[in-house]
């Protein structure tokens, strides 16, 4: 029962009516432009609509947080992008941000404050957990009963911000069989995309990092590899394809799995 997304309010629209959103959903560049990541955005929007929360996106006013520029070493570019975003959000009086991208999450939460952008920032997996804990979201487990799910930790969620349990707690509601890879949580292996690697060829070596990680995931014979980062998702999806396992093993974001469980999307 996938429906078109009719209700995606922008902060500008709300502002024009003298209103402000309870939460700002920071979509991020991947969530806005990458075909695979857009589906994660859609899933999360459907969850937001299903719980009747007053949210909004920045839409065309949103700009890259500057994460890849800063990690690559281009501080000027980062500061420019950050200053624009902060001026925009402070102008709108934004208080609380939820984002589906751990890179955006990390930079908004940890690096914007000393630039003058102070917000309560949550990653969507923590947000989903809080909704479940507060009873605002109930997950219907049926669709994934008995499925083997392994969660791939995003570096920027895990080691960078010590969030290991929230995505697992949310996944536990699916009634599937959660299995851990040999390196998980604080020992989780990177997918290979961070530090602006996403936008360049890997340096000379013997293997691609995403293949190494995909092999670790395939070792536990999962039906589903769950991720919580659009870049990890792309890397793992590519890895599964290269290993010719795309028919047996699917890569989904935590939000997509919840939306599917609750029949908010196919």
């Amino acid at each position: 029962m996938t429906e078109n997304l009719k209700n995606v309010p922008t902060v500008a629209e709300l502002f024009a009516n003298g209103e402000s959103p309870e939460i700002l959903f920071w979509v991020g560049c991947a969530g806005s432009f990458d075909d695979r990541a857009k589906k994660i955005t859609g899933a999360f929007i459907r969850i937001l609509n299903s719980i009747q929360i007053k949210f909004a996106v920045l839409g065309t006013e949103e700009g890259c947080t500057g994460d890849p520029a800063r990690r690559a070493g281009n501080e000027f570019l980062f500061q420019m992008l950050a200053a624009n975003n902060i001026a925009l959000m402070n102008g709108y009086g934004i208080k609380k941000i939820v984002t589906t991208c751990p890179h955006c999450f990390n930079i908004l939460k940890n690096e914007y404050p000393e630039l003058g952008g102070n917000y309560e920032v949550m990653h969507h997996t923590s947000f989903l957990q809080s909704l479940i804990d507060e009873g605002k979201l109930t997950v219907q487990g049926g669709a994934f009963k008995g499925k083997r799910i392994t969660f791939h930790d995003s570096c920027y969620l895990g080691r960078a911000n010590q969030i290991y349990e929230a995505p697992r707690n949310v996944l536990a509601k699916l009634d599937g069989a959660l299995t851990e890879m040999k390196s998980c949580k604080s020992k989780g292996l990177c997918c290979g995309a961070g530090g602006a690697q996403m936008w360049k060829e890997a340096e000379h070596g013997q293997k691609e990092i995403n293949i190494e990680r995909t092999e670790q995931a395939l070792e536990v014979k999962p039906d589903i590899i769950a991720s919580a980062c659009p870049f990890c998702n792309t890397m793992m999806t590519d890895g599964v394809k290269i290993k010719n396992k795309e028919d047996e093993v699917k890569v989904f974001d935590v939000a997509e799995l919840i939306a599917m469980a609750n029949q908010l999307m196919a």
Binding site: Q79, E111, K187
Partner: protein
């Protein structure tokens, strides 16, 4: 003890202490060649952190086998210092086992504990030699360890065998001499190990025994004094610097990158000429780091604290997949370059020029560009070193001062500047997804 020997001892001890102090002060000076970084807040939390990670070795126990072996050597080293203190007192005053008459039964217990730990340390030392040279564990045999670092590691272990053997021999012969009723060798009680190992020396005359006991005694103290002077040149320096390095930990989330206030201010005033910005007291000479003196003192203390265990490199996704980057090498290079800079300053003063730098002569851009900033190296380090922080500072220099970026990154920068996204999309299309998903 003969007065001549007392004088010889005092001279040897004084000279060793003076030499070591000089070198340690040089290291301190080298560390403070780094730029300022404020890590003096939250003192209570820092003490707690140091007790847990340096004294308590919390991170080590992620790998239980090396952790237990390491613990044997570590505890035996700490406790053996009590005996070293006694040796120094005996050496200077001419007494023999100065503490024994005062402590009585507790002395027997204390020396027995030292003996027990010495034996455990001996076992651990052989195990470590085995892991490094026979099992050839990958992380202990990687390219950056070729040559001096590999020899350094084995030499430390061999030194430990010599020191422990000396102390065990000293106690065994001492115990045997007590049984023979030799003058000055007063009763120490039944020492845990010596009561058995003394049997090895059955049938040897008193004079020979005294000669062996004295040789072991001198070997032990001279070994210790030599070691004290060797440590500051070696990876073994971690036994000291692990403590301050854990105290001055960065408490911010690992994901947070250091801000560059100079650039922040410049951008702020560029976007809004009326913006009020805080002036920067000590602006850095360059954007990012080219050489060790562009790093902060904490980066440099990190480098001296590294014992080259390679847990960082073993966890590094780039290294695992065969790229050139090794976080351990980043730390070793930083220390080697800093030592070189220190020497140049000693020879030619602070304005020396050797036309070399950390970036380029030690660390290449290929290494830096392989980093995914995943923090695995930082997470692994038992003494809270951050190779990542140094990598990012060097990257900043390559991009902002050298304009040296891979072509794809330049494209990405252009896109971010013009389209506010790292890909080439029209910013006006940023909300189009809502009609597509």
């Amino acid at each position: 003890m003969h007065i001549v020997l007392q004088v010889v001892f005092a001279i040897v001890f004084g000279f060793a202490a003076w030499m070591a102090t000089r070198k340690f002060l040089a290291i301190r000076r080298n560390i403070f060649l780094g730029r300022p970084e404020n890590l003096s807040d939250q003192k209570g939390r820092r003490w707690q952190h140091m007790l847990l990670f340096a004294l308590g070795q919390k991170k080590m126990f992620k790998k239980p086998i090396p952790a237990i072996l390491h613990l044997f050597i570590y505890v035996s080293f700490v406790i053996v210092n009590i005996e070293v203190l006694e040796i120094i007192i005996d050496g200077v005053t001419g007494s023999h086992r100065f503490f024994a008459p005062y402590l009585g039964g507790f002395y027997t217990f204390m020396i027995s504990m030292i003996e027990l730990l010495s034996v455990l340390a001996l076992i651990a030392t052989f195990a470590f030699l085995w892991r490094r040279n026979v099992m050839k564990l990958k992380r202990l045999n990687q390219p950056e360890l070729k040559g001096w670092p590999f020899k350094d590691a084995n030499f430390i272990l061999l030194m430990e065998i010599v020191l422990v053997t000396a102390i065990l021999t000293m106690n065994a012969t001492d115990f045997r001499l007590q049984q023979l009723g030799a003058a000055h060798y007063h009763d120490t009680g039944n020492l845990l190990i010596a009561q058995y190992t003394s049997n090895i020396f059955m049938g040897i005359g008193t004079d020979t025994l005294i000669a062996i006991e004295r040789t072991a005694w001198w070997l032990h103290i001279i070994g210790i004094l030599f070691f004290l002077n060797y440590i500051p040149y070696s990876k073994h320096l971690h036994i000291i610097l692990a403590f301050p390095n854990s105290y001055y930990v960065r408490f911010s989330e690992k994901g947070k990158m250091d801000n560059m206030p100079v650039i922040m201010n410049e951008v702020k005033t560029m976007l809004d000429p009326s913006a009020q910005v805080e002036p920067i007291a000590n602006p850095p000479k360059t954007f990012g780091a080219k050489d060790v003196t562009d790093l902060t003192w904490k980066h440099l203390m990190d480098a001296y604290s590294c014992t080259e265990c390679g847990r960082c490199t073993a966890a590094c996704p780039a290294n695992i997949t065969g790229k050139l980057l090794s976080p351990r090498k980043i730390m070793m290079d930083t220390r080697d370059r800093l030592e070189e800079v220190g020497k140049q300053i000693q020879l030619h003063g602070p304005d020396f020029s050797d036309n070399k730098s950390l970036l380029g002569d030690y660390i290449t851009t290929e290494e830096l560009r392989a980093c995914t900033t995943c923090n695995a190296c930082v997470e692994e380090c038992p003494v809270n070193i951050s190779p990542l922080s140094i990598i990012l500072e060097l990257r900043r220099y390559t991009i902002m001062e050298q304009s040296d970026a891979p072509q794809e990154w330049n494209l990405m920068f252009n896109n971010m500047e013009n389209n506010q996204a790292p890909w080439q999309f029209n910013p006006a299309d940023r909300l189009n997804w809502k009609d597509e998903v």
